[in-house]
Symmetry: C2
Subunit: 413 residues, 2 copies
């Protein structure tokens, strides 16, 4: 039997990679003063319909539960965030800076490399309408990627402003009810045949194409770029008015992160969604908000692709897997004595391993090496003395059982 | 809108508790040389039927997916473990010592405090039939709980041996096909009316009750107890032949952990399940195995109940939430300079926060205190000098912007 199609088993080696990604995500989000939270993996289907319209159901991993509730494995975190924040907003001092690491689901046709689950880092700022929050969020997104060893040669954050386009449509006297549809058409530019986009845009096709070609200008975007330049991050970003993002709920700055080589799908994406909390709380709570999500799958592919990032990951994983001490039991008569010491060493916080059953001494030292033990301690004929081997230098010495902990500490320090 | 019934939102305060529990779980499992892995939250329903019979479906959070697959949100990890190990066993040196932190689901009637999801630590040893593995596993379970600050006054591991009862039934000439049913009846002793158990046991009621009263003896259990005594852990365990565990797949040593006051449901439980890998792999792979699971809900209740454990948790959470540095922006003209330094400090790995928009200096220092900042740095009239405040001692000093990092480092060290 196998895992369901589109679902991954994380064997220890896979888990170590996932854990490395999670650790970097968490580390950088915390540096930025973000605090961690999490929602449930299952939500009412209504929550997603309310946000994205009934069409979303086609892509959901949804079902009817035994209590006749329409429920869905969550495809994204933002609706849950809006729900939670609307319910508890009085508890917290604004702005909230929240992050979360979680698993998300979608029911997609199976394709090579297309999974039905993935993990995401979500970082959101709630309750701040100032551009300073947008700048902080983009900087965080950049620094998260830099933590993996990526440089400005490896990725770029393409930044745009939805307001640029809504202003544009307003200026052209397009009625507001058509905006969503037109923004989606602009979003698809370059990803579908030009004629198809032209057809969708109608009269607007020419001015839109001209604007995309010349590049749009906006004071807001210039200010954002200046601020990032001041922080030394300008080389990681590009203003690209062609980024609109398909989701209807974005209201301001939007951005997507791509590998420079253009080999992969987007690494991350996000933006400002000032109306969503109000929309999902039926207008009872209104709060400006913005956030981004970064998935583990494309990120993992890019780490494998970029030598510096791959080596950093491999080194971190190797170090993290190492145990401190391997106990070699050379004589079975010493097993009970060994176990007493193992208990003490573990109580002191050391990572200690030993053979559960009788094994040849040579094989035990081999295991000690495979496990990356820094020290091996041999319980054998020398008892009540113990042979301690520094596995890095190869140096060996005999110590009495009463002061071997001190000796081990000095090697491990 | 709320979370679905039986599902939890983890607001930052709740998440911090969960994270604390996860960190202790992970820390101790790693001290024992266990390595982390994880399976998917959704599996084929067949996997659980195969292990536990068709009745299990009543308790599952199961449904038919859009591809007409019968699937279920996993109720436990063991079937996934057996599946994964059977598929990959040649890759690994035995015994495997694997642990996992994950979320599990069941569709239960809603009751106060009964959730439909919870998190579990699962620790398993695969490929070792020797009692040494059972001893190691029980010791790990004890040490995990000790890491939370619990003592032998707070909890007890009740240990039994299924073989004791199968030997007993064999001796009484009970046909093997009735064993499961009778073991389940014995398991329920004390939790349902005595007459009901007696009825289920029939002729065996008297000898079973007598055995439960006098306490059973077994060489294996004595050996296990001796070994734990040698490790200084005897006070944490009690032999209790009344523990059978309802699940049919256990084959040897079984154990359950309870709070001494008898106030809560079981904190953890596990045992040896030597036939399960073979059963789930249709006999293609056969491997002895054993493991235990510990849930976050009862554990969380017990932590709240025991002052030493609660204080340890609160202290850990408070420390973990602290940021390193708060940047006070006293003059908006200095914001750009401040942000440049913030970027440097975060790049150096510090946790740094600051006000996104203009705020009164007094309020900023208040925020610095609330966030637990160790250092506050004021960007104001003194520029290009900065005022540094050690938030612990209250001591303030002026430094030039070029050597303020060194000064901050010396405070934070």
């Amino acid at each position: 039997m196998q895992a369901l199609p589109g679902f991954r088993d994380f064997l220890p080696e896979d888990y170590a990679k996932r854990n490395y990604i999670f650790a970097c995500w968490r580390e950088v989000a915390r540096r930025y003063g973000f605090v961690e939270w999490e929602g449930p993996p299952l939500e009412s289907t209504e929550l997603y319909k309310k946000k994205s319209g009934a069409e979303i159901v086609d892509q959901l991993f949804n079902f009817t539960d035994k209590g006749e509730r329409e429920v869905a494995l969550r495809p994204e975190l933002t609706p849950t965030l809006a729900r939670v924040v609307a319910a508890h907003e009085r508890q917290f001092k604004k702005p909230l800076k929240w992050f979360s690491l979680g698993q998300f689901f979608r029911y997609e046709k199976q394709q090579r490399g297309r999974l039905r689950e993935h993990f995401q880092l979500n970082c959101d700022i709630i309750g701040e309408s100032d551009l300073a929050a947008d700048i902080e969020l983009v900087a965080l997104c950049i620094d998260v990627l830099r933590a993996f060893g990526f440089t400005e040669k490896d990725f770029v954050v393409r930044i745009s402003d939805r307001e640029f386009w809504t202003d544009f449509l307003h200026e052209k006297n397009v009625p507001a009810e058509r905006w969503d549809e037109l923004l989606q058409a602009i979003d698809k530019f370059g990803r579908e045949p030009r004629e198809k986009t032209a057809e969708k845009l109608g009269d607007l096709a020419e001015p839109v194409f001209a604007t995309l070609k010349s590049g749009g200008k906006s004071q807001k975007l210039s200010k954002l770029l200046d601020a990032l330049r001041g922080r030394g991050l300008a080389d990681f970003v590009a203003i690209d008015i062609g980024i609109v993002r398909g989701l209807a709920y974005y209201t301001g700055i939007v951005f997507e992160v791509f590998d420079r080589a253009g080999k992969f799908r987007a690494i991350a994406g996000g933006g400002r969604y000032d109306n969503l909390v109000a929309q999902l709380s039926n207008g009872t709570v209104s709060m400006p908000a913005l956030g981004f999500a970064m998935g583990d799958v494309v990120l993992g592919e890019l780490i494998n692709e970029i030598p510096l990032a791959r080596e950093a990951m491999e080194k971190a994983i190797t170090n993290d897997a190492k145990i401190d001490i391997y106990i070699v039991i050379a004589k079975e008569e010493r097993r009970a004595d060994a176990l007493k010491q193992i208990q003490h060493l573990r109580d002191a916080g050391y990572r200690v391993d030993y053979p559960l059953t009788s094994e040849k001494v040579g094989k035990q030292f081999q295991t000690a090496e495979q496990l990356g033990a820094r020290v091996a301690v041999l319980f054998g004929d020398e008892w009540p003395q113990l042979k301690i081997k520094d596995m890095t230098t190869g140096e060996q010495q005999l110590v009495t059982k009463d002061n071997f902990t001190t000796r081990i500490e000095s090697i491990l320090r």
